[in-house]
């Protein structure tokens, strides 16, 4: 080993020369330096080992946790705190009348609740809410204030974060609560004693949409309503509930601001455009209300249909419920009264049914308009004697006479000429004994007893021919008679949904022909017979300037002890103008008190309705049309 001592003179080149690799310089260290160096090295090593151990333990623990039985619990807990589940409900679709007037929309309401941890004074909250909501029908009771207090108190004890205190709060009520809250917040900071500082802190609200019917009772029997749970009940709301409500979406919303979850673009519920005309509906309801008042009837129905398409222009039925106050349902519909009599209540229609018996017989060729029948006042069929409404004998009559005088005996004879097989085949073709398939919820099928049924007797043929012993709904009658009224023999499906707006497009289904039970010729012949019948009888159903066809009906009501002679169903079915039918009107009054006869109580109702209808539908009088045609 070579050393260069201080003061030794060497050449520069030699000093710079790198020593051979194998030669390790011997650096002199003192004993203390060496000891210190060892100590430091030991400490560093220890520290390094500790860190290594800590790291290793962390890694081992991480691996252990991955395979531990509690893993799933930890994962679920982590997920619980990292995101929240929200269900988004799309806004319910609107319902319009045929001209685009809103019949069912949405309005803002609020849910009011308390975030329990932030509540400063539960007394103030319960007092304020009970006072502000005192005009609210659901919360207008004396114990409501105490209930709110106890709900908050219980939530505080149980550690519940949020409790709902009121729902369906209107914007006006919420504004009042906000005023109260601001006033309390501005109170001076003084000692308020044991009661504490009045405050509405902790009270929160959340807006949402609620179904709203701007027309209130108008068309309520057609629309139905949406209940507290958001489900459509009765009418269009129930029938098209899935379409109107749309599909709710459940989404886990991340709480991590780096992973913000987008609120999904909800497919809102479809909008519906109905065939109903608001003005005609209002007129029908007004006419029906007047008729009930004048006749003292228990209830009634007025249907207005376009017989060419099956579109229902108005469906008026009693009683009516304001769908904005659906909680009154049980008070309005007592004694199993159906929500819409037109589709849900079957009854024995009486002589209006003769239109269909005659249609079947004319179409089959069993009779012609000139066929003569000598009415002796009674006819025997199936062991029973059938008589006319006035128990009189009307002598020789043609078919027009039979219809004009509404002769039960004649129509029974017509039915026997047709034969039971053909008669019931026609009635089935007219759609009786089954639902029409109309797009309103809760339709009743009625009852048509057929030969071969255990409760069918031969006499049924006779009674059925004039509308007794058969159960039909008004909508079934309207559908069947549409085949006569439109002059084409085509029976149109009655419907209230004209079109549907979904995904930015308006879908309009074409009117459906259910069948063609009679020929166009039969329809024309029968319409002419019925028009002349009304004119011959100077019926109360006639309207100046317009030629209409129609038939009255008076049916006895079946009771457990037989048919009641004092209580009747009074009906009228008519259509017009005869040359170019635009409307078919069906009137049914249940148990009228002023008179039992359809010709007296129901026919004027038809006339009243048609007088308004021709104005609302812009139908010129026959004379004007004739003049224009001649011109």
């Amino acid at each position: 080993m070579r050393r260069y001592m201080a003061g030794q003179v060497v050449s520069a080149g030699r000093i710079r020369r790198k020593p051979p690799a194998r030669e390790t310089p011997d650096i002199p260290y003192s004993a203390n330096e060496k000891a210190g160096q060892n100590l430091t090295g030991w400490r560093f090593n220890l520290l390094g080992i500790l860190f290594l151990l800590a790291g290793a333990m962390i890694i081992i623990q991480l691996v252990r946790l991955q395979f531990s039985p509690e893993r799933s619990e930890f994962v679920s807990q982590g997920e619980l705190y990292s995101r929240t589940l929200h269900i988004f409900y799309p806004p319910r679709g609107d319902i319009y009348d045929r001209w685009g007037r809103l019949l069912a929309g949405s309005t803002l309401v609020y849910e009011v609740g308390a975030q329990v941890d932030n509540v400063e004074n539960a007394d103030t909250i319960s007092f304020a809410i009970s006072k502000v909501l005192s005009g609210h029908p659901e919360y207008d009771y004396p114990e409501y204030s105490d209930e709110i207090f106890s709900v908050i108190h219980r939530a505080e004890i149980s550690g519940t974060a949020y409790v709902q205190l009121a729902d369906f709060v209107t914007p006006e009520e919420l504004a009042q609560l906000q005023d109260w809250a601001r006033n309390y917040a501005n109170l001076p900071d003084v000692d308020y004693g044991e009661a504490g500082r009045p405050s509405l802190d902790g009270l929160v609200y959340r807006p949402r949409l609620q179904r709203y019917y701007p027309e209130n009772e108008l068309g309520a029997n057609v629309l139905g309503f949406v209940n507290r749970e958001g489900t459509g009940m009765f009418g269009v709301e129930a029938e098209f509930n899935d379409l109107l409500a749309g599909a709710p979406l459940s989404v886990w919303m991340s709480l991590d601001p780096y992973q913000v979850t987008e609120i999904p673009q909800l497919k809102s519920g479809a909008d519906l455009v109905l065939t109903i005309d608001r003005e005609i509906q209002a007129a029908a309801e007004d006419v029906l209300n007047n008729a009930l008042e004048e006749s003292g009837a228990d209830g009634g129905v007025i249907l207005v249909m376009d017989p060419n398409t099956g579109e229902m222009l108005a469906i008026a039925s009693t009683p009516r419920l304001n769908p904005n106050e659906y909680w009154n349902y049980a008070n309005v519909f007592t004694d199993n009264t159906p929500y819409n009599r037109a589709v849900s209540q079957d009854y024995e229609p009486g002589s209006v049914f003769k239109v269909l018996t005659m249609a079947a017989a004319l179409d089959d060729g069993a009779v012609t308009p000139d066929t003569e029948f000598v009415d002796t006042g009674s006819i025997q069929l199936g062991g029973i004697t059938i008589r006319n409404w006035d128990w009189g004998a009307w002598g020789p009559q043609n078919m027009q006479g039979c219809l004009s005088h509404s002769l039960n005996v004649c129509l029974t004879w017509v039915a026997t000429e047709l034969g039971a097989g053909q008669f019931y085949r026609y009635m089935q073709n007219f759609g009786f004994g089954r639902t029409t398939g109309m797009d309103l919820a809760g339709e009743a099928p009625g009852r048509l007893k057929l030969p071969g049924d255990t409760d069918w007797f031969e006499a049924e043929l006779g009674t059925n021919s004039f509308g007794q012993g058969i159960a039909v709904t008004p909508i079934q009658m309207v559908m069947a008679i549409s085949s006569v009224a439109n002059g084409k023999g085509e029976m149109m499906m009655p419907h209230v949904m004209r079109s549907m707006v979904r995904d930015g497009f308006q879908y309009t289904p074409t009117p459906q022909v259910i069948g063609k039970p009679i020929s166009a010729e039969t329809a024309h012949t029968l319409t002419e017979l019925l028009a002349r019948s009304l004119e011959g009888e100077s019926s109360d159903a006639l309207i100046d300037g317009y030629r209409v066809a129609g038939k009255t009906g008076t049916a006895e009501i079946a009771t457990p002890t037989g048919y009641s002679t004092s209580e009747t169903n009074a009906s009228f079915v008519g259509w017009g103008p005869v040359d170019n039918p635009r409307f078919l009107v069906y009137v049914w009054l249940e148990k009228p008190q002023s008179s039992p006869w359809g010709s007296i109580v129901a026919a004027p109702v038809f006339a009243d309705m048609v007088e308004r209808l021709v104005v609302l539908m812009d139908i010129p009088p026959d004379g004007v049309l004739q003049g224009l045609a001649d011109h």
Partner: protein
């Protein structure tokens, strides 16, 4: 060999220069890392802030509002606007409802017209009132019956004309 070593030594950097070089490199790495970290922090902080902003707006849609919160906020989520629109539509429907309109008719001393008071006149070309149309009808599905793709049938001239038209359409669409 010795000559090579001498030559290398002659051009070798001085130790202090090499040290400075190393320090420079390390500093450059550190500064670069700091800049990247700064940019990352800035971007992530802004992302977090925007994320929180979005979450707050979402809470307005499905969350709860304090009674004393400011109602006149400028930024309103679409869902809340839709709720307000639905509410206003209903309010408008109330104002034009049948009952309200009848009351207005009464206030104006107007009577409903009766059938025998109407005078009808012939108007050539008159189109009667049409039922409401809230949206266009669905577009008809056009099924191309031809089995041969049009691209195989068009001439060069047609192709050029088509391209020119497409380009012109493109520029006309992007125009503000």
């Amino acid at each position: 060999m010795e000559n090579i070593k001498k030559l290398t030594q002659a051009y070798e950097q001085a130790p202090w220069r090499r040290q400075m070089y190393m320090i420079g490199v390390i500093l450059l790495i550190l500064v670069s890392a700091a800049i990247i970290a700064g940019i990352y922090l800035n971007v992530t902080a802004r992302a977090a802030a925007v994320g929180r902003q979005i979450q707050e707006m979402q809470v307005r849609v499905y969350g709860y509002h304090y009674l004393t919160s400011d109602a006149g906020e400028v930024t309103v989520p679409i869902e809340e606007l839709e709720q307000r629109i639905a509410n206003l539509t209903s309010q408008l429907a109330i104002l034009t409802s049948y009952k309200v309109m009848q009351e207005r008719v009464k206030d104006l001393n107007l009577d409903p017209i009766e059938a025998d008071h109407i005078e009808y006149i012939e108007v050539p070309g008159y189109i009667e009132r049409q039922t409401t149309s809230l949206a266009p009808p669905p577009e008809p599905v056009v099924v191309n019956a031809s089995a041969i793709d049009p691209q195989f049938k068009e001439s060069l001239f047609e192709w050029v004309a088509d391209q020119v038209q497409r380009t012109a359409r493109y520029f006309s669409e992007v125009r503000p």
